[in-house]
Assembly symmetry: C2
Homo-oligomer: 338 residues x 2
């Protein structure tokens, strides 16, 4: 039985969708149980309205939440028994095998960094994002690729980027079942000499790397196309790129809404096209993929989107369990050493 | 009379659309003449088939072109009388007032850098790109904003970014008639402390800058939205962002094409929606805005897209003339000094 500690506080929709997602999962077949971590009275109230398997769903009380607006360091200092730290401690102490949270991203990364051990050779953690692409990936033909870091480490050394490549490669292999994921550095040209000195150095270090199927540099064009399975960049660039994808998705949705409001013929056209537009929105709406792994630690950490619904929470919990079951941390460690 | 030297070699479509654009312009009202620079026999052959005003269109012969695949430095060294260098010399020697080229971008920037003087306080030139946005800008409600640098200077100092802000602000004021263009730094958060140390320092230097209406940092989300009129970043980040916008445009077009091919109902829907889709494609197809200014020199330089048609060439020539007429270089210089 794999147990996931679910931080139920601080997300945009409150504890309800998180409890619903966990309750749903407890009724499904599977070797997975969940510990809901948060305000016990609130959690019990939600649970009273739901069907769930009490053998696979329990509650641990925590005092205090980190809000989306809080500065992570200050909030964790001020509230040492808050839900995300309590959930992380349950994992560190062996009561649970993985941490899932839909709260403040910085606080999740910091809670992991303060509570877990970093893997040998990893200086700082990375947040990876699954994002939609035109090309498909792996045996299941997934329409998305992985990018890291997207915000955990703003300033990266070449060694950090190499560590991200090993971690992203292991995650893609384990979660997407891609045997030899194609990994590339994001740069301003495909030649090995292109980019900052740090990127050029990382390119040199990754060439012929034992544990990474490194295919060289990719450019901005290749991000929406999805030319490779794993895109490596520093957290500054990854943050700009990911938010841009989010912005493009919003703009496409706005334009479609405008068109809809304006003209009857357009309404007819849009109704007929709804399936096609849904596909475009699916492609551009990275949020629906929910869980983003925080990599670099000796335990599995999945950050679900702050606006996750019950289905997204359930998916994030399942991804966490899969990563534990298939030995993600060990897979990364073996790619980093010897 | 303002005279523009037009480099007619090395673009994707050959000299023909360039000659057509210049011939078209010569027949329109306006105080503008063009010198076509390139292989005289080829240019004469094209001109023989076109109507144009010979008082406003002349030819200067040049030997050799720089192709899109050439390494700019090597090509300019090997072919000192190639069309882009010949055109730049005509401007430096006062025979023409501005340079327009649809050739190899790196070669245009390098030709400017070798032939023109840098403005005082500017260490290296910047390539600016006009890109489509959801929000509109200025008195003409233009659906696009300006971003620089997008590829001329990969590694920038804080001082370079401040120079780009002054140059972008002057260009936006002169070409888009925006009296006080809103200028922002692209970063991974809006707080003044966000970003690399160079961005943090540039933020400090731009706060209360006399010649720039600096509104702080913007994030990736703000690029497609178009929250500000001018976005400032280093050439590495700008290159990735611009190519990503191009990639998104391609993917949207591909999806629409796929949908069209697949289903009759979709075809009907798409036909009805064609105006709406055109709007989306217009929004995402930055290429149609054609001319991108190369800034930082004592002469006006406009890089037209390599795939420019006659209309795009005509627009680039008109933008170049407008920049000369309104004193772009002087406007930038006055923002940089005193």
């Amino acid at each position: 039985m794999i147990t996931v500690a679910l931080d139920t506080m601080g997300s945009d929709g409150g504890a309800k969708p998180l409890v619903e997602g966990a309750a749903w999962l407890s009724r499904e077949d599977g070797d997975l149980s969940v510990i809901l971590v948060g305000e016990e009275p609130v959690l019990s109230e939600h649970l009273a309205e739901l069907r769930y398997d009490p053998a696979r769903l329990s509650v641990v009380h925590a005092e205090g939440a980190v809000s989306m607006e809080d500065k992570p360091g200050d909030a964790l200092d001020a509230r040492p028994d808050c839900s995300v730290l309590t959930a992380a401690r349950l994992v560190a102490e062996g009561e649970a095998d993985a941490l899932v949270s839909a709260g403040n991203t910085g606080a999740v990364i910091l809670a992991a960094s303060r509570t877990f051990e970093r893997l040998p050779g990893i200086r700082r953690g990375a947040l990876a994002a699954v994002y939609p692409t035109e090309q498909r990936h792996g045996p299941r033909q997934d329409p998305f690729a992985l990018m890291l870091d997207v915000g955990a480490t703003t300033h990266c050394s070449a060694q950090d980027l190499v560590g991200f490549a090993v971690m992203g490669s292991a995650y893609s292999r384990i979660i997407s079942d891609i045997e030899r994921p194609r990994v590339a550095l994001l740069s301003n040209g495909t030649e090995p000499t292109k980019g900052t000195p740090i990127i050029v150095e990382a390119h040199r270090m990754l060439t012929n790397h034992r544990a990474v199927n490194f295919v060289g540099n990719v450019e901005g064009l290749d991000i929406p196309r999805g030319t490779v399975d794993v895109v490596i960049c520093d957290g500054f660039l990854g943050n700009v790129v990911l938010k841009m994808l989010e912005g493009v998705s919003e703009v496409v949705a706005d334009l479609a809404r405008d068109a809809y409001a304006r003209k009857f013929l357009w309404k007819m056209g849009l109704t007929m096209l709804s399936q096609g537009l849904r596909q475009i929105r699916t492609m551009t709406d990275w949020k629906q993929y929910g869980g983003a792994p925080v990599l670099g630690f000796d335990h599995v950490v999945i950050k679900a989107h702050g606006r996750s619904n019950a289905r997204a929470v359930r998916n994030a919990l399942k991804v966490a369990a899969k990563a534990v079951e298939r030995g993600l941390a060990q897979e990364i460690a073996s790619g980093l050493t010897g």
